[in-house]
């Protein structure tokens, strides 16, 4: 299928005056509000405002997620705070390069790459930049697939807090960053979901015609 680049214009549901359901693939009449098969709300390819709104919200809460501590460890009365980046560096210092890598990729690389990619896609669609092949669509697919994996760090905090409590010499408590990081992941997931992939192809259509 790699060679199936389309050069001729493709007949879309929209051009045929129909409305496709993004859940079940059913074609509906252009005037329908909900899908006649699965009952999902049908959306016409809408603007980018919701995408940008969620993206901005995600970006804003991503700042405290990095500056405030994610974990507060107190050991024998001594308190240490560690941020997301600090936690990854600590792991690397202990020699666990693999795990440090996972944390670094999931909590730092993926979120930043996601902001940049969604932003790029939104601007590219808005400006109608010409595109080659499926690159932009693949970017969208990757962002949608990978976004949820950033939650790893939040779960790690939950596990550590549950495990290391009282009875032991050390206690661990979640910091503000745990909440804001979770929110940031949720907001960017919503941004990716609000982004309608049909818009990517609309700009392709206008190129070929």
């Amino acid at each position: 299928m790699a060679h199936a680049r389309t050069t001729q214009p493709v007949l879309t549901a929209q051009k045929a005056g129909l409305l496709g359901c993004r859940i079940c693939g059913r074609a509906n009449l252009g005037t329908a509000q909900t899908c006649s098969r699965c009952g999902a709300a049908l959306s016409r390819p809408a603007g980018l405002q919701p995408v940008l709104a969620w993206l901005l919200a995600g970006l804003i809460v991503y700042i405290p997620a990095n500056t405030y501590p994610m974990l507060r460890t107190s050991m024998l009365g001594e308190e240490t705070d560690s941020t997301i980046l600090g936690g990854a560096i600590d792991l690397a210092h202990h020699g666990s390069w693999g795990v440090a890598g996972i944390v670094f990729v999931a909590s730092i690389l993926i979120p930043i790459a996601k902001f940049i990619t969604i932003g790029y896609l939104a601007v590219a669609v808005h400006r109608g930049w010409p595109m080659q092949g499926r690159t932009r669509f693949h970017l969208y697919e990757i962002v949608e697939f990978i976004g949820r994996w950033s939650m790893i760090d939040v779960f790690v905090v939950a596990i550590l807090v549950a495990l290391v409590q009282f009875n032991l010499a050390a206690t661990i408590a979640p910091g503000i960053a745990a909440v804001s990081f979770a929110l940031s992941v949720i907001f960017t997931m919503l941004a990716a979901q609000a982004f309608d992939p049909r818009l990517i192809w609309q700009s392709a259509d206008t190129d070929t015609e």
């Binding site: 079940c24 795990v99 807090v161």
Partner: protein, 219 residues
Amino acid sequence: MTDRQNEAGGTDGAGALSELIVCPSCDALYKVASVPNGGRARCARCGHSLMAPRENAMARIVMLAATSLVLMTAALFFPFIEITAGGITRRTSVLDAALTFSQSLSLPLALAVAAFIIVLPVLRLVAIVYALAPMSLGWYAPPHARTALRLAEEMKPWAMAEIFVIGVAVALVKIAGLAHVGLGAAFWALALLVLVNILNDNFMCRLTLWRTLEQRSRS
């Protein structure tokens, strides 16, 4: 699926509409073709998988989902990790991990974590079993099967049990220096769960499933 351009043009009746298929990612319009079992029809423009019928797909999906439910129950109540430090052993179950935030400032976070790793995965599996089990036995679809399946579909990105498994592994390494750490039975249940879910997603061709559901429903 080559003759779409001509066939799709002049259709307006409801019967004709059900013979069409719209690519969920790029809106391309196709006329439904018959795809042999084991084959796969992809969208010519974006490569999205449109139809991939498998033999006994319905029964397999239901069985895998039921298996996941059993594993999920085990994963919830058995401890998944245990640490020993200074002679004291502490075990933690998934339930504990989800509820841990409730003792601190962040109750909303506790609810979110519980939803992501327990509530949504379980609800999703129950919805799939409910919607498809009767059909896998050759009966009609139960009432509201479509709503159940749609909800299962919409919950998919938010059910994060498999991400939690990786989280456990990372947490293990983080406290390995503090105390002696071991994995509990639930961890293996969770790891199996992830495998079963991946298998299930391979069988679950969304659009084929929906067509079958529509055909088997009592209207």
